[in-house]
């Protein structure tokens, strides 16, 4: 965020997050990280309506960050750095995960 987005976008995003935190404090009397799983879900759900822009940016960054991290790429996805061969059309086996790369 800090390096790849222009100042205006950064500020918008950080302001959005700050507002979101305030909202959590107001509604639950706690910071977002201290909320229970259900409360968190609820809070994010409200955000999709209240501040769609910040939500989408947050989601994009989270999803990208996760699936390009070592744990995301190698555990949540199918990670294969050197395939060695190419098959264009094979049956999709049950449980097959998306290729990480």
């Amino acid at each position: 965020m800090r390096d790849c987005y222009v100042k205006a976008d950064q500020e918008k995003f950080y302001n959005g997050l700050a507002k979101f935190e305030e909202g959590c404090k107001f509604a639950y009397g706690k910071n977002f990280v201290e909320l229970s799983a259900d409360e968190k879900k609820d809070a994010v759900k409200k955000m999709t309506v209240a501040d769609k822009e910040t939500f989408l940016r947050l989601k994009e960054l989270t999803v990208t960050g996760y699936f390009t991290s070592e744990i995301g790429a190698t555990q949540a996805l199918a990670y294969l750095p050197i395939p060695g061969r190419f098959d264009a059309c094979i049956p999709l086996e049950p449980g097959q995960k998306t290729w990480a790369l």
């Binding site: 989601k59 990208t64 070592e70 790429a73 060695g84 190419f86």
Partner: protein, 570 residues
């Protein structure tokens, strides 16, 4: 005195090759293998094969920004950051915008490499032959000048370079897209097979084939001989291939030339000009500027191969001023710098496919599909000249597919670990006509930090290209819709000259010295010991990716040059 003679001897070669990219690499290989002592002069820095490809083996989490550009990079590189080839992982391969001070009367996106190997490291490797439909077009239509060669002149040289470079593809026997000497073709995804069949059935036998690509789908003796091995299907080619599995100077032509023991490679050296001897009516060598010390040195040779990439080569020629050539070497015709061409692209359509949900793939194919030109061929007649081909391909959507919607949470995360639906994309590459007005010239006073005059671009796509683009977009949409694709989205992301990095023309070949710079052997008409064999020589652009043609023309010119040397004609 003796010292001087020794020094001159050390600076004297049979041949000088300017540039070490696709064309220069071939010139060095051919000339050294034919027994000449050669110096290849490259302005970029050394990039060692394999060990130099620092980012090739990195995982996404090993990089800072997953390949993205930072704001700082976008600010320091206002021109390079206009498109994808410049990114976090390839940064080192490109010349900095702060050093590359070219000017734009009209927008021109110029991607200048700064490494040994030139753009042969970053290129897309799509490799197609021109046909007589291309070579005859100017003459038949009364456009510009006639090519001085025909397909039969270059065909054996295509074969020759293909056997060494290694081109994977499918034989089709099409008049507009002659077959290469092929390594096994790469297979198509199910969505591609589906679209291919539909296009053939519904558009009167229109062809879609797998891309013809300079990646080793199998390694043969010629390639293993220089240490190359088969493609591992990682699709990270633009970072450099640790397996030498695609054609580049480093993987292919440089080791072959080095093996002869007759090649000297000089890096970090800008060729400033080619020197000319009025009495002998020949070039005598080149003057270089050391990039780091600014020291000027001369090298001497019997022949010079100018392979600095279209615009690099023409810059050197325009900057080679003498009494005989006050407007640039070989510029009697006043055509030098003119007729600048590039392909226009970034237009087409994409769509989603509901079929094939039970099909997947293994490995990452560094190649797509190709739809050869079908417009203005046979009985097809359009309201514009020439035509276009499509590149593109299928894929299954990945974890990024829900970034634009409002879903979140554990279910979404689980869903994203599974392959998404198939999509198909078609992007046109169109021919641009050679217009005299489209040109590059040297600024009269502005110089870069090495004292080289700054280039100025004044080129644009015109009416013929605009009309063609309508077809390029609509045909793509029509083909995908006919194949039953959903959410078909036509796009025109705008194309400016230079963007396709297929810059061509500016020192065209022709039959008449009054209207062209080079003859049918890539020789400057008036300076027969100077050969220009890169894209500068192109008399028209065709719509296919051009580099394979530069390889073939370079090998052909090298063969001619050595024969002429033996006959003492040069």
């Amino acid at each position: 005195m003796n010292l001087n003679i020794d020094a001159i001897k050390a600076q004297t070669f049979d041949a000088i090759v300017i540039g070490s990219g696709v064309s220069g690499g071939w010139a060095a290989k051919e000339l050294t293998e034919k027994g000449l002592k050669v110096i290849m002069i490259e302005k970029g820095k050394m990039l060692e094969h394999i060990s130099g490809y620092e980012n090739a083996m990195k995982d996404p989490w090993d990089t800072m920004y997953n390949g993205r550009l930072t704001v700082q990079q976008r600010e320091s590189h206002p021109k390079l950051s206009r498109d994808y080839p410049y990114n976090e992982l390839t940064e080192k391969y490109w010349m900095n915008d702060s050093d590359s001070l070219y000017q734009e009367e009209k927008r021109f996106d110029w991607y200048r490499p700064d490494i040994v190997g030139g753009k042969s490291i970053m290129w897309g490797r799509q490799s197609y032959r021109l046909s007589d439909i291309d070579f005859e077009a100017n003459l038949k239509e009364g456009i510009a000048v006639d090519w001085p060669i025909r397909y039969k002149d270059i065909a054996p040289w295509y074969s020759y370079v293909e056997k060494f470079a290694g081109i994977s593809g499918e034989k089709l026997n099409l008049p507009q897209l002659p077959d290469s000497e092929f390594l096994p073709a790469m297979p198509m995804y199910c969505v591609e097979e589906h679209v291919k069949k539909s296009i053939f059935d519904k558009f009167g036998g229109r062809i879609m084939t797998i891309g013809r690509v300079a990646n080793l789908s199998a390694a043969e003796k010629a390639q293993m001989g220089v240490g190359r091995s088969q493609c591992q299907y990682r699709n990270k080619c633009s970072l450099g291939c640790p397996y030498g599995a695609y054609f580049s100077t480093q993987s292919s032509t440089l080791p072959a030339a080095m093996k002869t023991g007759r090649l000297t490679l000089r890096t970090d050296a800008i060729v400033k000009e080619i020197m000319y001897d009025e009495n002998k009516k020949r070039a005598t060598g080149v003057r270089i500027i050391d990039k780091n010390t600014l020291e000027v040195t001369e090298f001497y040779s019997k022949i010079v191969f100018v392979c600095g990439s279209t615009l690099g080569s023409t810059t050197v020629l325009l900057n080679s001023i003498s009494n005989r050539f006050p407007n640039g070497m070989g510029n009697d015709s006043e055509q030098l710098g003119h007729n600048l061409m590039d392909h226009h692209f970034r237009i087409g359509a994409s769509g989603d496919w509901e079929g094939g949900a039970d099909k997947y793939y293994f490995g990452r194919r560094a190649n797509g599909i190709y739809i050869p030109r079908y417009r203005n061929i046979g009985n097809d007649k359009r309201d514009y000249l020439r035509g276009f081909g499509y590149q593109g391909g299928g894929s299954r959507k990945n974890w990024a597919r829900k970034n634009g919607d409002l879903s979140f949470g554990a279910d979404m995360k689980e869903e994203l670990t599974k392959p998404g639906e198939w999509t198909m994309n078609l992007g046109g590459f169109g021919e641009c006509l050679p217009y005299y007005e489209n040109r590059v010239y040297l600024h009269k006073t502005e110089k870069d930090k090495w004292g080289m005059p700054v280039q100025v671009f004044d080129a644009e796509f015109k009416e013929n290209e605009r009309k063609m683009r309508l077809d390029m977009m609509n045909d793509a949409k029509e083909m995908l819709e006919a194949a039953g694709m959903k959410n078909v989205r036509a796009f025109d992301n705008k194309s400016y000259p230079g963007m396709a990095i297929h810059e061509m023309g500016t020192a065209r070949m022709g039959r008449d010295p009054k209207t062209s710079v080079l003859n049918g052997n890539n020789q400057i008409h008036a300076v027969p010991n100077v050969f220009v064999t890169d894209g500068a020589c192109m008399t028209s652009a065709s719509c296919v990716n051009p580099s394979l043609t530069y390889m073939a023309l370079t090998a052909r010119a090298a063969d001619f040059a050595v024969k002429e040397l033996k006959k003492k004609n040069l």
